[in-house]
Amino acid sequence: MTFINYVAREINCKIVYYGPGLGGKTTNLQYLYDITNSENKGKLVSLATETERTLFFDFLPIDLGQIRGLRTRFHLYTVPGQVFYDASRKLILRGVDGVVFVADSQEERLDANLESIANLEQNLKEHGFDIGKIPYVLQLNKRDLPNALPSEQLKKLLLVKGEPVFEAVATTGTGVVDTLKGVARQVLVELRKSA
């Protein structure tokens, strides 16, 4: 649910990073936090367990600059990837404008990726969203690992609708900004179309 505030001259959008546990969703946000100018970012809020696994969500508000005099503020959220936190994942999708699916490229995580995409589709549906219509990009993370499956193979298995795909190594930042740009562009184009 985009919030356009003509009084504060702001567009506020909500992006959710979704995907299986330990896939790198939080690392994406941490990298974005590290490289964003301090005046363009808020606090990185992490609701995590003692072992730094996401318990509820991470939250990072960032300001991407002005567009025709309107500040574009993106509220970035992650969900907990572990299967048993499904109730929490569902809550975070409330009012979402765009989704980044962070897939773990490792061969042994293929089933977890597929399960998580099916779970995303179902949870979006419960909020009245269609994965076929909502702004959505696929990030193939952990491309640097030796057991990473070939990108082409992953695309064949994980693509939902011909969405943009970004190869990434979130720990070094490779592909992280491009992924955000990809989804932010779709959200803004969608907003323009509907305005």
Binding site: Y6, F56, I67, L91, G95, A184
Partner: protein, 172 residues
Amino acid sequence: MNPSNIVLYEAEYLRLKSILVMTQRDLRADLVLLIDRSGHQIAAEGPAHGIDMTALSSLAAANIAATDGLARLVGEPEFSILYHQGKHRSIHISDVAKRFSLVVVFDESVALGMVRLRVKRATAYLEEILRSFLRKTEAVPTATKAAPGSAPPIYFTDEDIDKLFSSLKPGS
């Protein structure tokens, strides 16, 4: 316009703000904040220095969402009020028109009963304003929505979008 999007123009903002100002003054609250259920801040009033309102809005919305989930688990349609009591500061969160929430941060000098009373009155006013403004948002095409003198409907090009992201400095 996606009917679930919220577009706030000055006239509605001023009406909403006046209710928050009244509530904040009546209670001498640290902060009175109106948010939507996605965690976006709509309007705020109060001297609460040092509170990160963006983070507060996001956490309050998540708190409400989690509490809604808890309510459903025990067979309740909702828990319409959340109250967190601290040693010096407390937070009262209540539902407004099912799509928004009113967050009041107050210190130990303010009685909870008074907060509840003022919040109830403010909620009635806010609901009236928000319902009429949501009806307008949903019923009128955006192109005709802007009142004379207000901001035009949103318009931007692909180049405008390309110019964004200058605040991100990969590798720095």
